[in-house]
């Protein structure tokens, strides 16, 4: 069980800052997902942890061992940190056995048995050991890459968008298999991804990066429902924003009075609602709105609603179970399930 502490790590390429005073503590045995749009510095952070690049400033400490202190770093090959790259980076000139055993010495006792165990660990048929990487499917390649990294019993596992090259259907199942293996082994894991759905379902701790800075960290549930700003709110999912007046208890907006934690604030603010919080009913309670458009999406449908109010016209989207989807042009009543979130004031 390993604890990783990153303190004030900065790095710039030429004049472009890639990492700007990033600090992050990763608890032993936890799964952390670092999310952010491309160019936000998340992959650079991963490369600094792995030792492929040196930071300009800041420290990286793994279990008390300093791995990087400014530009002085410990060599990557001695860190015992596992790394799974986006496309697996399997050695094309070696077969699966050669890849899996690459980190093991050639004279390692029980080498053959270890290889079979590793294959079983990632749910692959040991008969595939003699295959070449190009004879494997994308999902199989990623499992081999994971098993190869696990062979060394790494202290920490880094996953650099390892599922993004896979088909949507496959991505889900490979991710679940990988999560199961890592949980079982109890290895502290950091996943970098730009797919917020992947991050939310994988991690027990989420870190959002933007423009080289760590914007917010916390539990996925916490970040989804209580984002620190609008960008984070929109990055983690669809959101509906309303101007609201802060009351003594809760807030009031065009949807009426809503429950919200106001933390003693007064005056006006902006609230965030997730589209799945809306409930539609033919007879109320709630605000009367017109159904402008309905997009059927299988399990859910996205309903565009327009307020019937005179003067302040507003449009927003609600996600409702598709069995109850309304007719376009009909008038319905919309109410809110749960509390609204009052966004922190922009600093």
């Amino acid at each position: 069980m390993t604890q990783l502490v990153i303190s004030d790590v900065s790095k710039r390429y030429g004049t472009t800052p890639a990492l700007d005073r990033v600090s992050l503590a990763v608890e032993p045995g936890s799964r952390v997902a670092i999310v952010g749009p491309s160019g936000s510095g998340k992959t650079t952070l991963l490369r600094v942890i792995a030792g492929f690049e040196a930071p300009d400033a800041g420290t990286v400490v793994l279990d008390g061992q300093v791995l990087a202190d400014g530009r002085a770093i410990a060599p990557a090959h001695r860190r015992r940190i596992g790394f799974v790259a986006q496309d697996g980076a399997l050695f094309p000139h070696l077969d699966v056995a050669g890849n899996l055993g690459f980190g093991l010495g050639p004279n390692e006792p029980d080498r053959a048995r270890r290889l079979i165990e590793l294959m079983e660990l990632v749910d692959l048929d040991p008969a595939m050991l003699s295959r070449k990487p190009h004879e494997l499917s994308g999902g199989q390649q990623q499992r081999v890459a994971l098993a190869r990294a696990l062979a060394l019993k790494p202290a920490l596992m880094l996953l650099d968008e390892p599922f993004s090259a896979l088909d949507t259907g496959l991505r889900e199942s490979v991710r679940q298999a990988v999560t199961a293996v890592l949980t079982k082994a109890g290895i502290t894991t950091i996943l970098v991804t730009h797919d917020q759905g992947e991050a939310l379902s994988f991690a027990d701790q989420l870190a959002v990066m933007r423009q080289g800075r760590l914007v917010q960290t916390g539990r996925p549930y916490e970040l989804y429902w209580r984002p620190t700003d609008i960008e984070t709110a929109l990055f983690l999912g669809n959101a509906v924003l309303f101007e609201a007046r802060i009351e003594a208890v809760g807030v009031s907006c065009i949807l009426g009075r809503l429950a919200a934690e106001t933390r003693g604030r007064r005056g006006h603010g902006r609230i965030m609602l997730r589209p799945e919080q809306f409930r539609l009913s033919p007879a109320g309670p709630g605000l009367q709105v017109v159904v402008e458009d309905v997009v059927f999406r299988g399990g859910q449908c996205a309903v565009t609603l327009r307020t019937n109010d005179d003067g302040t016209e507003a449009r927003f989207i609600a996600h409702v179970p598709s069995m109850e989807f309304p007719e376009i042009g009909s008038t319905v009543f919309v109410s809110v399930n749960g509390a609204a979130f009052l966004l922190p004031e922009a600093t």
């Binding site: 090959h77 050695f91 094309p92 270890r114 590793l118 079983e120 660990l121 019993k153 079982k184």
Partner: protein, 526 residues
């Protein structure tokens, strides 16, 4: 998943911290810079003699009827060779790639095969068959036959790569088939035609053996005549200057004609292969063109060589000099290949791993000597060794240096693709699996890059094996390679004794021809 595997992590040993010493980049830059300086030697030579000779003398040496005559010859040769070669390459490429002509695959091999016959062997075949075959028509015919593959290869490759959807789109916009060819197909072939024509044009300027044998005077033959009659006279140097200017003019012309456009496919995914046009009743008559070209370009050398071999009998194979020259040739080819690949290595590494504006400039320093005629490179080295480093004059080292300069572009191409086989991610994966940099090099980088390195060495070695001009000018007295020995024998009109040398040179060139053909096919999938 039932797992019995223990994944307990052993404690991390205490690790020393070090500042990352990223010496690879600066070291490679330094080495590539050194090679680039060497490669600038021929250019420096031209500038030096221009300055040294002085304006008055230079003008007197250049402004002569003889130079005008050579210039006219050169222009005539280019004009009589390039247009028919372009037309033939287009027709041949269309037939082999886009029509249902029977045996298209085999015929496309036949169209490339003349590359295996060195140009001076091609002209030897014609001259010894028709002793009165001289002058411009002969030069143009043999040039077309010898250099057509240089145009056919890129044009055919591009034709295969054309996205048929563009032609469908043009047709759906109301264009007739002829308009589709003129407005959609030909513009997309322009880069291939320009590139191939430039290559052929440069070969026409640089070739010595072909035209000397067929007794057609070009700058290159005149320079060597001049050089052999009056060693290193300023006259030869001035002619070399004019020759370089002609090359520059040709490159500039190609640059103008090519335009700034790039024809890349918009959109993702591999293009669907274009359907082949049904030739109907023309299916068999269409065979006449590729077969006629094969008969002229391959049949004539085959006929001549077998005739001389038969008349010579077994005796021609038992010349002592033959075995000796094979050994010498292999030695030079091996040394040249090794030296060229070593010299190209830093540049190839830089252009794959650390591309920047500076490396692109260095790279053009590496590649430009490939466009210079061998005779200019040789003259430069003669002048430099005679004036600055006399002990090196006519030594193996100088010949090898000439080969390095001439074949640096070939070495670079092969090495680059070899190094590109090892993306940095693989080296990082090896590091994260506990291999130190040296062992990563041995276990990952070298095995993956080896095929590219081997291909690069093979390309250079095969170029050296049939090289004539620079070897004639630079090699130590008494050096006998296949090419120079063949040349000496044909100069004495001993065609029967020369035949085995020609056969051996063709055999040595076959692998390269196959390699080029395969590369042109493969580049389509890239």
């Amino acid at each position: 998943m039932t797992v019995s595997l223990s994944l307990d992590t052993p404690a991390l040993p205490a690790l020393p911290l070090r500042r990352q010493r990223n010496l690879a980049g600066p070291t490679m830059l330094l080495l590539a810079g050194g090679v680039a300086l060497c490669a600038l030697l021929p250019l420096g030579f031209i500038l030096w003699i221009a300055i040294e000779t002085g304006w008055q003398t230079a003008l007197a040496l250049i402004w002569r009827p003889r130079v005008g005559e050579l210039l006219a010859n050169t222009l005539l040769l280019e004009f009589c060779t390039l247009p028919p070669a372009i037309g033939l390459a287009l027709a041949l490429a269309w037939l082999t790639e886009r029509s249902d002509m029977p045996g298209a695959q085999f015929l496309s091999w036949l169209a490339v095969a003349p590359l295996a016959v060195p140009a001076f062997v091609q002209s030897y075949a014609w001259v010894s068959l028709f002793p009165k075959f001289h002058g411009l028509p002969a030069a143009a015919l043999v040039s077309v036959l010898a250099y057509l593959p240089f145009l056919y290869l890129p044009v055919a490759a591009q034709m295969r790569r054309l996205d048929p959807e563009l032609e469908y789109a043009a047709a759906s916009l109301g264009q007739s088939p002829a308009q589709v060819v003129r407005r959609v197909v030909l513009p997309q072939l322009r880069l291939a035609i320009c590139g191939g024509s430039l290559l052929v044009g440069l070969h026409l300027l640089a070739e010595y053996g072909l035209y000397a044998m067929i007794r057609f005077d070009t700058f290159t033959t005149a320079i060597i005549d001049q050089f052999q009659s009056s060693y290193n006279g300023p006259a030869a140097n001035m002619l070399a200057g004019v020759l370089v200017l002609s090359c520059v003019g040709l490159i500039g012309l190609e640059w103008l004609l090519r335009g700034r456009a790039r024809y890349a496919r918009v959109g993702s995914g591999a293009p669907r292969p274009a359907p082949r046009r049904q030739l109907g009743p023309w299916r068999l008559p269409a065979l006449a063109l590729p077969i006629a070209l094969a008969l002229l370009g391959l049949g004539v050398p085959a006929l001549t060589l077998s005739r001389w071999l038969m008349s010579g009998g077994g005796a021609v194979w038992q010349q002592g000099a033959l075995a000796a020259s094979v050994v010498t040739t292999l030695g030079y080819a091996g040394a040249g290949a090794l030296a060229a690949v070593l010299a190209a290595l830093p540049m190839a590494w830089l252009s794959v791993r650390a591309p920047s504006r500076a490396t692109r400039f260095l790279e053009s320093c590496h590649t430009y000597p490939g466009a210079l005629p061998g005779v200019v490179v040789a003259l430069a080295l003669v002048t430099v060794t005679v004036r600055v480093a006399l002990p090196l004059y006519q030594t193996v080292a100088t010949v090898v240096l000439a080969y390095v300069l001439m074949f640096l572009p070939r070495a670079l191409v092969g090495l680059r693709s070899g190094i590109a086989q090892v993306p940095i991610e693989l080296e990082r994966a090896a590091a994260s699996l506990g291999r130190n940099p040296a062992r990563t090099l041995l276990a990952v980088t070298l095995p993956l890059a080896a095929p590219g390195v081997a291909a690069a060495m093979a390309l250079v070695a095969m170029g050296v094996a049939t090289e004539l001009t620079a070897t004639l000018l630079l090699a130590p007295n008494g050096t006998r390679t296949l090419a120079t020995e063949f040349w000496a024998l044909t100069s004495e009109l001993d065609y029967a004794k020369a035949a085995p040398y020609a056969v051996l040179m063709i055999l040595l060139s076959l692998p390269m021809t196959a390699l080029l053909h395969a590369q042109a096919r493969r580049s389509l999938n890239a």
